[in-house]
Symmetry: C2
Subunit: 210 residues, 2 copies
C-alpha cells in the first residue's frame, strides 16, 4: 500500500516469510492431529504468531489446510511421473520405489497429512484423486502392463503393484512411531528398508526363465 518500491518489497518479504512460517507450523500440527483435531491456537503457537495475526494471513483454518493440500498432490506424484516407459523395466520400477521411500524419509509430515486425509474419507482431496492421481496411475499401469506383455518383468497385477509400492514406502512415514517402538528409538530404519524393498521387488518382478 505504500508508495515506494522499497517499502512495498519490504512488506512482501515479511508476508512471504510469515506465510511460509505459518504453513510450516501448520504442516506440523495438521499432520499430527488431523484437520479437526488441530486448532488455530496450536498453529499460532508453533509459528510464534498470535491467533488474530495468523488469521490476517489466512482467512480461516480451512484456508491454511487447503493451501497445504493444494500443493501436496503435485509433489506427491512427481516420483511416479518420472517412471519412464522407455527405460529398463526393472530398474525403472526399483528407482520409483527408491524415490518414493526417499519421499517418506524427507517428507514424513506430508505423508501423514495425506494419510490422515485419505483415512478420513478424503473429503477435501477427492477431486484431486480423480483429476490427477487416477489418470496418471492409469497411464503408468498401462506402461507396466506393456512390460509384462513383452516378458520384460514377471506377470503381476499392475494396480496392486502400485498399491504395494505406496503402502510399503509410506508405511515408514505414517507408522513411524510403531516402527521405532519395535526397532528401538535410535534405529534408523531406512537403510535396511531400502535393501529389503529392493530385494522384494527384484525377486517378485524378475521374469522366471524356467
Amino acid at each position: 500500500m505504500t508508495k515506494t518500491l522499497g517499502k512495498t518489497r519490504d512488506k512482501t518479504r515479511i508476508q512471504r516469510k510469515n506465510t511460509a512460517t505459518i504453513l510450516e507450523a501448520a504442516l506440523d500440527v495438521f499432520s499430527t492431529h488431523g484437520f479437526r483435531g488441530s486448532t488455530v491456537d496450536q498453529i499460532g503457537n508453533a509459528a510464534g504468531l498470535s491467533k488474530p495475526n495468523l488469521l490476517y494471513y489466512f482467512s480461516s483454518k480451512e484456508a491454511i489446510h487447503n493451501a497445504l493440500l493444494s500443493g501436496l498432490m503435485d509433489t506427491w506424484l512427481d516420483p511416479l511421473r518420472a517412471l519412464d516407459a522407455q527405460g529398463d523395466p526393472l530398474p525403472e520400477i526399483l528407482n520409483y520405489v527408491c524415490r518414493k521411500l526417499k519421499m517418506s524419509r524427507e517428507f514424513p509430515r506430508e505423508s501423514r497429512l495425506f494419510a490422515n486425509e485419505i483415512i478420513q474419507g478424503a473429503p477435501r482431496i477427492m477431486g484431486a484423486l480423480d483429476a490427477e492421481l487416477r489418470p496418471l496411475v492409469d497411464e503408468k499401469c498401462a506402461v507396466i502392463a506393456g512390460w509384462i506383455a513383452a516378458g520384460k518383468i514377471a506377470p503381476v497385477h499392475p494396480y496392486h503393484l502400485m498399491f504395494s509400492i505406496w503402502s510399503l514406502t509410506q508405511h515408514y512415514a505414517d507408522f513411524d512411531v510403531q516402527v521405532h517402538r519395535i526397532l528401538g528409538q535410535d534405529t534408523d530404519p531406512y537403510p535396511e528398508a531400502e535393501v529389503y524393498l529392493e530385494t522384494l521387488f527384484t525377486r517378485m518382478l524378475t521374469p522366471q526363465t524356467i
Copy 2:
C-alpha cells in the same frame, strides 16, 4: 437395583444392548474422524441416543474411546499369535498374510481406528505397543530368523518382512477410499489382492536353489 432377578436381568440386558450400540456407533465415528475430530453428538446420533443418555453409560468421550482401544490390540494380534513355529515356513507366512488381509476386509473400521491412533503419535496406545506388540513381534521374528538360518525360506530382514505384511494388508482397509477411486467404486479389490500378495511373498521367500 430392583429386587427381582427378572427386573435386574432386564436392566442388564438393556444396558448391554445400549453399551454395544454405543460402541458400534463410536467405532464408526472415531475410525472416520479420529478422536478429537469426533463429537459426542455425532456418536449419539449414530447410536440413536441423546447425548446425556450416552454419557449415562460412559463417563466421558475418552472413556468410550478407551473401551474401543483396550479390546482392539488383543484382537489385532490374534493372526500373528497363530503363526506356528512348528509349521511349514512358507505356508505359515502365507496364511498369516491371508488372515491379516481377512481382518482388513472384515474389520476395516478397527484398522482405521488403529491407523489414526498410530499416525497421530499413538498417545493412547503407546503402552500397549511396548507391552503387547513388541514382545510378540520379537518372538515371531526370532522364529522367522530360525527358518532363514535353516534355509527353509530365502533370507530377508524379519522385522521389515513383518512391516511389509502389515502395510500391504492394512492398506486395503486404511486407504480404502483411494483404492476404490483408482479401481472403480464397484470393484472388490480383495480377491485380486489376495492373489497378488500370495504371489509376492511366494516369489520373495522361496529359497533360490541355484
